[in-house]
Symmetry: C2
Subunit: 335 residues, 2 copies
Amino acid sequence: MRTLALAFDLGGTELRGALVERGGDVIARVSEQTMAEAGSEAVIGRIIALAGKLLGDHPQAKVIGIGACAPGPLDPKAGIVIGPPTLSGWHNVPMIDILSRQFGLPVRLENDANAAALGEWRYGAGRGSESLVFVTVSTGIGGGVIADGHIYHGRRGLAAEIGHMTITGEGDRCFCGNVGCFEAVASGTALGRRATQLTAPGDGSALRRLSGNGDVSARHVVEAARAGDAAARDLVDAEARWLGIGFTNLLHLYSPEVIVMGGGLSNGFDLLAPGIRATIDERAMQAYRDVPIVPAELGDRAGLVGAASLILWEGEPGTALSMVQDEGADTARTA
Amino acid sequence: MRTLALAFDLGGTELRGALVERGGDVIARVSEQTMAEAGSEAVIGRIIALAGKLLGDHPQAKVIGIGACAPGPLDPKAGIVIGPPTLSGWHNVPMIDILSRQFGLPVRLENDANAAALGEWRYGAGRGSESLVFVTVSTGIGGGVIADGHIYHGRRGLAAEIGHMTITGEGDRCFCGNVGCFEAVASGTALGRRATQLTAPGDGSALRRLSGNGDVSARHVVEAARAGDAAARDLVDAEARWLGIGFTNLLHLYSPEVIVMGGGLSNGFDLLAPGIRATIDERAMQAYRDVPIVPAELGDRAGLVGAASLILWEGEPGTALSMVQDEGADTARTA
């Protein structure tokens, strides 16, 4: 029987659960709406029910613990979800305490971007690297940093808030109140907004045809650019330039071995990559220019398998890593 | 007899040597012009001569190793000075090999900003913290990051190139070729340039009186602001705002327990601090606003004592730290 972890990825809209084995394979997967507005107790009740379903469907599973991820800010060491903007009514919810009492299993908690970084590092596009920066470009921009073989947490687990790195003095105001945040100019939302401003309902543009004359989204821009639409291509080029400016900063600041780009906009990675690379070649200091920028491989399961790895791999948070051994090899373990 | 380290701080203009004891006290200190243009062999000859002088003057010193710092880029693990712009003719100089062969002692090498960060962390303004960001604001802007109890190196030791973090789209072009580098808008050089542009020789301004009608430097601006000159105060306020924007990024990206500001411009820290703090309070996300911003304490000996600590404290680079024990306690060491 394989050793498994229960994994949960608690998002603002979707709650996902899975059984994950040590190599990163997802054995079973369930999901439902988070309905965060019902409050933390109701959502935790739903997590418990999902766990019951997964375990009931796999009665032979040898589950050794629970790895969970949730939106930040959260304190991974204390195991507390502090109060994410996307989970209204959540304030200092002690997730680890609640889940470990319920299941009598070890529980680990990590913020979603860090969990996804861990997933891509251990099982995805960053396999084999010593360090990486994972950037998720979607509604907003988030990130996680792996350095010297573990998640870079910083004080209270708050490092790598890369979406709110100021990179310019221009553009629309960010929801955080500033002008010039990486997220405010380079997120999928920002790309969609630029496309919407560039066009008008009923103007016959490819972008508005794709959007049914509603607001244009980043997805429409990528789709139109892929079909060869010139306006969409220009928008993609401008987007790639903003991403390249931000990525150059990440190279200078973290000096990773690789940058992994995930999130919804990574669907257009092939279109964005040349512009990102050209911007880095123009702006990064020589010694950083050969660092690969690659698309994420795990899609929306990165957070789940990363969270599971908190249980299936020893050592997080903050210590050197060694894989949990198979039970047959347990007696050979030295630590 | 106290256990000591020989320390060298190899700068573009000045070469400093010292004998440092474990608590960070400098027992003896020497310096001379680097004369980098004479080439690496001549400079290393001068390092060896300085070491001979320090050791000759202190024949009873129990020196257990040599810690050196030099401008980046350098590879701290391989012990190689790669090719700093301020040391012309230096290309891949194997400092550790050369010095350890010469003296038969362990040698450690670190880049100067990282060494200063280490010095301030172990002996100066960052004592007792788990993590810090050290920022030196002078001709340029450099930095070093301590995270989880050790220097954050990244690939090839190149992390924390914070002077070349893009924070705006405006301002003069940086020597690196970009517009908007933190260094290009917030260094002492940038402040002096703004003051020079604002005034003219013979205009009777306080700034030009201080500069003898030559170009105005950051030091003149600080001096005039301290004397109450309104134009200088405005320049200081604008400088503090740029520093605050950059420091906010550092909070979001590294989440340190403290930011330590050193370099020549830290002479004006008391004048800059209110504007830096106001900018952080305006721009940083709530959870980062209570992080202290403090002036460096060690001045130009930060690099020396930090380099010495590479020898006097075990574990760098990259591992957990424990202080080297007194010789009397050596037998009790478990590792």
